[in-house]
């Protein structure tokens, strides 16, 4: 007993420090933001909201956001459910490759996807538009990316992996004998899908759909690149426009919009986790039977064709477009053999300004990942391995940060850490790093916690009873078992941080311009080629990161 008392104390100190840090950097800024939106010069006043929603343009942005996000949500689920089923539960040829391709757009920065689709479907010189015009002898470009439809299209392609991952995970976890029981009861494969598979999947379908809705509504990069040129405004672009005004009024209006977004996003996520925990669909699962794959029969190759076409359009086409554009000698000459070369690459890789941004972003990513992983390890250990009261509070705070839309986090950090409340981080690299940590630590905590919970307490107890001290047990037993998840947790913070755009775009200063911001600027200045070169550089780094991640975790975790 003597020994365990000081250990409990040190755990309590760690929990206290991490709670304080998380409270200060996550909860406090959000509270300041809400306070600022509701109080003017210290008196309660909802005129901010009245002002903001009194203007037609803001109402339009709100309805646009809801409309587009709903379309994207519904389209994602409709496309994703059959894909997840085909890839997970049938004898579709090449399904492993398809799975990899279908989740690939998850690791591509959304704004890179937007740039690609602008290249493919802009009405004047889009590759795909030109191709269709040529094939069908059309006078006019058939598609215009700068429309509501175009925006919904790009958002769907880039956020449907959220739904795909959620739904296919649930499908893999489902006991296949539940479906077999329906078959042996006399139900055909299709009826089984309808009566058993679909209802059992419903919570994950709703969850996946809501994730897509929130992601689409919180996205800034895609609407900024695809929507703005067509004068389609959404909440995120309105907030940024208000902030660009720079005056107090602009910030107050942005604050009111951001708080409404936060309420909706966090509310939906709370509803989602309530729903998932409420419906108890867990059943005793038996020995692992070979999952019974549905045989597609004569539908095998048509299904293969459909999935292949989707994978080509969703992933391969935009990536090819970016890569090809980066290797064009002159954009105006179009696709011709003598027009290929590394001419566009040379000015980029020799430009000290560009390369500085690349290295800077990698540096910020590394710093954020290192700090984040250590914090995540504490938070995960506390919530999974200890019995201390309040052990899961840090975990909850981290989840709150991750669930808050990026643009809201950025705004909250601006109003809080500009010196009004002591600490002034404005225009420093630290405000960027804090924002990355607030947004991306949650994935890291999840991964490490999942791995820690796999280490059964008896493994530790066996080491302790073999005579090892607690520290020795950590070193010999726990660390080796969870090491892959720590590496994974590191990359899960590093990768989205280094190509982050939304928050960086609001928080960067003269000396802290990050890669995402630089790329966004190049794209808006219509320097598509340099933007493409930088995009390819980002994709390469993401690819290398994923290969390392895959090696370390043996394919269990990837972005």
């Amino acid at each position: 007993m003597k020994k365990s008392l000081p250990r409990l104390d040190s755990k309590f100190i760690v929990i206290a420090i991490s709670v304080l840090l998380l409270l200060y950097f996550i909860v406090f800024p959000l509270l300041v933001l809400i306070y600022d939106s509701l109080f003017i010069n210290g008196t309660f006043d909802i005129s901010n909201y009245k002002d903001v929603y009194g203007k037609k343009v803001n109402w339009k942005a709100l309805t646009n956001t809801i409309q587009i996000s709903l379309i994207v949500m519904v389209a994602s689920v409709i496309v994703t459910f059959p894909l997840a089923w085909l890839v997970g539960r049938t004898d579709l040829p090449g399904k492993k490759t398809f799975r990899t391709i279908l989740v690939a757009s998850y690791m591509i920065p959304p704004y890179v996807g937007a740039i690609a689709w602008v290249q493919l479907l802009n009405p004047s010189v889009g590759y795909l538009n030109d191709f269709i015009k040529f094939v069908f002898g059309l006078q006019k470009a058939p598609f215009d990316i700068y429309t509501m439809g175009g925006l919904a299209w790009v958002l769907t392609l880039f956020y449907s992996p959220f739904a795909f991952i959620t739904i296919s995970r649930a499908m893999e976890k489902m006991d296949p004998t539940l479906e077999e029981a329906a078959r042996i009861s006399g139900s055909s494969p299709l009826k089984t899908l309808w009566d058993v598979t679909l209802p059992l999947m419903m919570p994950s379908i709703v969850a996946g759909g809501l994730l897509v809705f929130i992601a689409a509504a919180s996205c800034f990069g895609i609407p900024a690149i695809v929507g703005m040129p067509g004068n389609i405004e959404v909440m995120t672009t309105r907030i940024v426009t208000f902030l660009y005004m720079g005056d107090d009024k602009g910030i107050r209006d942005a604050t009111a919009l951001a708080v409404s977004m936060m309420v909706v996003a966090n509310g939906l996520l709370m509803f989602m986790s309530w729903m998932l925990s409420h419906k108890d669909y867990t059943t005793i699962s038996g020995k692992s039977t070979r999952p019974n794959m549905v045989e597609l029969g004569k539908w095998k190759w048509p299904a293969f064709g459909a999935v292949a076409v989707y994978a080509f359009i969703a992933v391969i086409l935009p990536l090819t477009s970016i890569i090809v554009t980066s290797f064009l000698v002159s954009m105006s000459k179009g696709l011709a053999l003598d027009n290929f070369g590394i001419d566009a690459w040379i000015p980029v890789v020799t430009s000290s300004q560009y390369m500085e941004s690349v290295w800077r972003s990698i540096g910020y990513g590394i710093v954020a990942a290192c700090i984040g992983t250590v914090l995540a390890l504490f938070v995960a250990y506390l919530s999974v391995k200890t019995k201390v009261t309040g052990r899961s509070i840090p975990d909850l705070l981290v989840v709150l940060g991750g669930a808050t839309p990026s643009i809201v986090i950025a705004l909250a950090l601006i109003v809080t850490f500009s010196g009004n409340y002591g600490l002034n981080l404005y225009s420093t690299m630290w405000i960027l790093i804090v924002s990355y940590l607030v947004k991306y630590m949650t994935m890291s905590v999840r991964t490490i916690a999942a791995s820690l919970s796999q280490v059964h307490i008896s493994l530790e107890e066996a080491a302790l009873s073999s005579g090892a001290s607690w520290i020795r047990t950590c070193k010999d037993i726990i660390m080796p078992l969870v090491a892959p998840s720590i590496v994974a947790g590191w990359f899960l913070i590093f990768m989205p941080s280094f190509y982050e755009l939304t928050m960086s775009n609001l928080l960067y200063g003269a000396d802290t311009k990050s890669l995402g911001v630089l790329l966004y600027e190049l794209q808006t200045y219509a320097d598509t080629q340099n933007a493409s070169v930088l995009s390819v550089i980002i994709l390469l780094i993401v690819l290398v990161g994923n290969i390392i991640l895959n090696k370390v975790t043996k394919g269990k975790v990837s972005i």
């Binding site: 006991d175 004998t177 539940l178 077999e180 029981a181 329906a182 078959r183 042996i184 009861s185 006399g186 139900s187 055909s188 494969p189 009826k191 009566d195 058993v196 209802p199 059992l200 108890d280 669909y281 867990t282 059943t283 005793i284 699962s285 038996g286 020995k287 039977t289 019974n292």
Partner: protein, 350 residues
């Protein structure tokens, strides 16, 4: 009309033969167990009968109808076979209440609601769950879910019922009572049952005949009594009940114990050369005064209704079980004498 026939059934996964040359004719109303260690192919065979696996070779028939014929490439879909099945995991649908779960097969057959509820009610009475109709599976214990699965498998009055290790997730006491309940229901309905298990006492108490399987091969098909008293080979003798194996040599019509050349037993199987003698622990008598061979008492375990002895005979440890014996009658290290009865003999297996 629920005779089930399996003719030359093979199942191969690449180069691995999961089931090899399975043949059986099951009579109407018969209770058959597939018994064997895990990985022996018993569940695979059951799943081929259900239609969830396709045999690589062979024909399966229910009555006069072929339901699976690998040569013709004909495999009737599981839902067309009219079979009831209980899964090891129960596979009770968590989103439907008990009535909906049990009534589902009737719903598929478009049985009118009134009649459906009547039949569900009858089934729930049969499995003693009449009070639980409105409950969701998450509100039921494992044993109750098991009964729901059984009622669902029986409600459409299938002529053939398949049970895949249905009791293995239950605790020991419940397992015991469910055994007799399933037996009683089967006798009551006169239904043909194929029961997969790795628990020999389950197979022994419930079955009309047992199919003992190992490494994808049928080792023996027979009544429980025959399998116990007259196992076809060393594997079956070893898997069913307890047994002592003693190396021996067969010459002419006698088999000689190795190391005890003076002691021999009849050779009804006409074995020759290396052989194995097998004797069950309860068929050995132990005494202080004299017997076939001499040994030294090594260990004694008090079981309650019997004493389990280990006697060292030369280099072997022989296990002897005596019902109602007195634990204190022998001391460790004491010289004792053994007599063998009902000695079985097998050709030596590699």
């Amino acid at each position: 009309m629920a005779e089930l026939k399996l003719q030359h059934i093979y199942k191969r996964y690449g180069n691995v033969t999961a089931v090899g040359d399975f043949n059986i004719e099951v009579a109407d109303g018969e209770f058959i167990s597939f018994l064997g260690p895990s990985g022996c192919g018993k569940t695979t065979t059951l799943r081929m009968i259900a239609g969830f696996e396709k045999p690589t070779e062979g024909v399966i028939m229910i009555g006069d109808q072929e339901i699976s014929n690998a040569e013709k490439g004909y495999f009737m879909a599981p839902e067309k076979r009219g079979i009831g099945m209980v899964f090891q995991s129960y596979a009770v649908w968590p989103h439907m209440n008990v009535i909906d779960n049990v009534g589902y097969p009737l719903k598929i057959q478009n049985v009118p609601k009134e009649e459906r509820l009547q039949r569900v009610k009858k089934m729930l009475e049969l499995v003693h769950l009449q009070e639980y109709g409105e409950r969701l599976p998450s509100q039921l214990s494992g044993g109750q879910q098991q009964r729901v699965a059984l009622a669902r498998a029986l409600v459409a009055q299938p002529s053939l019922l398949l049970l895949d290790e249905p009791l293995s997730n239950l605790d020991a006491k419940l397992r015991e009572s469910m055994r007799f309940e399933i037996s009683a229901i089967q006798k009551d309905l006169g239904i043909t049952v194929i029961y997969v298990t790795h628990d020999q006492s389950e197979a022994m108490t419930m079955s009309d005949r047992i199919v003992v399987m190992s490494m994808g091969k049928v080792q023996q098909i027979g009544k429980p009594y025959d399998i116990y008293t007259n196992p076809a080979n060393q594997m079956v003798a070893d898997f069913i009940g307890l047994v002592n194996f003693i190396p021996a040599t067969a010459k002419g019509d006698r088999i000689f114990m190795q190391g005890y050349e003076g002691i021999s037993f009849p050779n009804p199987k006409k074995l020759s050369g290396e052989a194995v003698l097998a004797v069950r622990p309860e068929n050995i008598t132990i005494s202080k005064t004299g017997g076939m061979m001499e040994g030294v008492m090594n260990h004694r375990f008090y079981i309650g209704d019997s004493v389990d002895y280990r006697v060292k005979v030369k280099d072997h440890i022989v296990r002897v079980i005596q019902k109602g014996a007195d634990y204190g009658a022998y001391q460790d290290g004491e010289t004792v004498y053994l007599d063998f009865d009902n000695v079985m003999s097998f050709a030596k297996e590699e």
